[in-house]
Amino acid sequence: MGDKPIGGEKRVFMTGNEVVAYGALAAGADIMYGYPITPQNEIMHYWTRMVPKYGKGFLQTEDELSAGFTTIGGVLAGKRAFTATAGPGNVLMQEPMSMAEAMRLPTVAVVQQRGGPSTATVIYSQQEVILTTMGGNGEGLRVVYSTATHQELFDYTIKAFNTAWKYRFPTFVLGDGYQAKMRESLTLYDPEDRGIEMVVPEAFVGRSGTPGVDRPPAQYRNTYSMEEELAGALAENIAAYEKAAPEISEYEEMGTQDADLVIVAHGVVSRAAKLAARDLGKEGIRVGYFRPITLRPLPVKRIRELAGGTGTFLVVESAYGQLARILMEAAFGAAVRIVPLYKPGVGVTSEEVVTRVRELVGQSL
C-alpha cells in the first residue's frame, strides 16, 4: 500500500469528476468497476491514475450490467467497491442495483446525469431522478444523495460508503454533467481527521466457521420460489428501510419560516434557487428555499410541515417534473399549490427563477 492519499486539509481547484475519485480514495475505497460513459469518464480516469500509487484496484467491464454485478462481487468479497455511470448506463445499472437491493448489499454508485431519453446528449440534465430513486423492479429501497457543490461531491462520496455499509442499502451519489465538468475550489480532507469513522467492510462470503453451527448462515438471496417467502423478506427489508429513513434523510433550507412561497430544487439547480431567494429577499420579496439532499428517502416529515404551512411550492428542475412527482407524493393531502419551472435537459439560472417568482408574486397581489 502507498502513502495516505490526503494528509491534512488542503484547498484545491478541481473538476467534479476528479472530486469523486478523490472522495472515494479518501473514503478508503478498495476497487472501482466501471464502463466508460460521458460525462462521468474522468472519475475512472483519475481513479485509474491513482490506483498504482495507492495500491487500489480497477476493472473495466464490458458494459454497465457487468460493472454493477462486479461491484456486487467486490462487496460480497468484503471490498469497499464502487462504480460510476450516467444516462443509458444508469438504465443498465438498475438491474444489478436491484440485485443489491434484494440481497441488502452495500454498493455505492455515482451517477452523473446526462440528457435523455435514450442516448440524447452527453451534457447535462436532472432526468435521472425517478430512474435513480425507483429504477429497479422492487420497492426502491435505496439511498440517493443529490449534491450541489464540489465540496458536497467530496463529502457525500465519503458518506455514501458509510451509509451503504451501515444500513446495507444500495447508495447513490447523484450529480450531473455540469457538476462533473465544472471547476470549483473545495477542501480535501482525510475523514479520520474530522472524526468521521469509516465502517469497516466485512466479507459476505467465505466466512470462517460452519454455517448454522459456529455462526448464522450467510444467505443473500435475490430469488424466492414462493410468494409468501418473498413477501416475508420484503416486509423485513421495508421495515428496516422505514426505520432507517428518518436517520438517513437530509435537507437544506433558508428563510422558510412564514414564507408564503418556497422555491424547491435539488442538485446543481438548487444553487440558482438559493441565489434567487437571496436576491429576492434583498428586494424585500420574502421567499423561502428548500432543497432535499436525499431524494430517496425524502425528508418527508419536513416536506409535510412546509406543505402544510406554505401557499406555494415553486418547483425548479432540469427535468419535466421528476422532483415534483416525488415531492407531491410526500406532500399528498396538503393544501400547498405546486407551480412548475421545468427546463428538461438544460440548466436553470437564478434570473429565470427570479422572473418566475416575480410573476407569481404579481399574480397574487
Partner: protein
Amino acid sequence: MVPVSGKEPGPIVQRIVEAYIGEYAGGKSEVALNRALELGREGRKVTLVDLDIVEPCYTLRPIKHLLEERGVCVLAWETRKTFGLGEAGTVLKADARWALRREGDVILDIGYGVEGSKTLSLVEGARTEKNLCILAVVNVSRPMTGTVDDIVEHVKGMMPVHGLVNNTHLGDETTPEVVQAGAGVVDGAARILGLPVVATTAVEEVARAIGPRDASGHPVRALTRYMPQAFW
C-alpha cells in the same frame, strides 16, 4: 509570405508559435487565449487554434465570436457546424490541421491532459516548425500537479516541452499568496526538468498586486477570465 520551409527567407519579425499543453483543467485555454489577445493587441496577426478533440466542455467554441471581435482569428468548431461532442465523435477541424501554414503567429490550445497533448502530432508541420514552443501550463492547486515531484513526472510524460507556465489559482478565491506559492513549486520543478518558467499568470487584480515579476523572478502575465463563459 508564408514560411513553409526553412529554405525560404523568413520574415523580419520572427513569428510566434506556441502550443499550450498540460494537465486536464489546468487552465490551458485561458492562458492560450489571453496570449493570443495580447499578441493581437500588439498589432500582430494571430490565429488561435482549438485542438481539444476529446472534451466537449470548456472549449473555445462558445466564445469563438467574442474572441474574433477582439481581433484574433479563431479556428474552432461552431455549434451549428459540428455533430456530436465527446463520445459522440468530435473530429479535428480541417483548417486546424493546416493551421501552421498560416501567416503570422499561431497559438495552439491543446486540451485534455497528457493524452490530449498527442493531438499536436495531427497538426501538419508541427514536427518541422522551427518556431514551435511547447509550454506546459501548471496549476499547483490541482492535486495531480500539487508538488514538485508530481509536476516533474507529469511534464516528463508530455515531452518535448520547452517551458512551463505557472497558472496556479483557486478560481474566485485566488490570492497573490496562492499564486506566489505556486510559482515556487513550479520553479522547483522547472529546475529539475532544466526548463524555463516563461510566465506566471494571474487575473488582473492579483497580477497587479504581485507586480511585474513573481517571487521566483518570472514575468507575470495578467489574465482576463473568458473561460467561465465557455462552459459547454
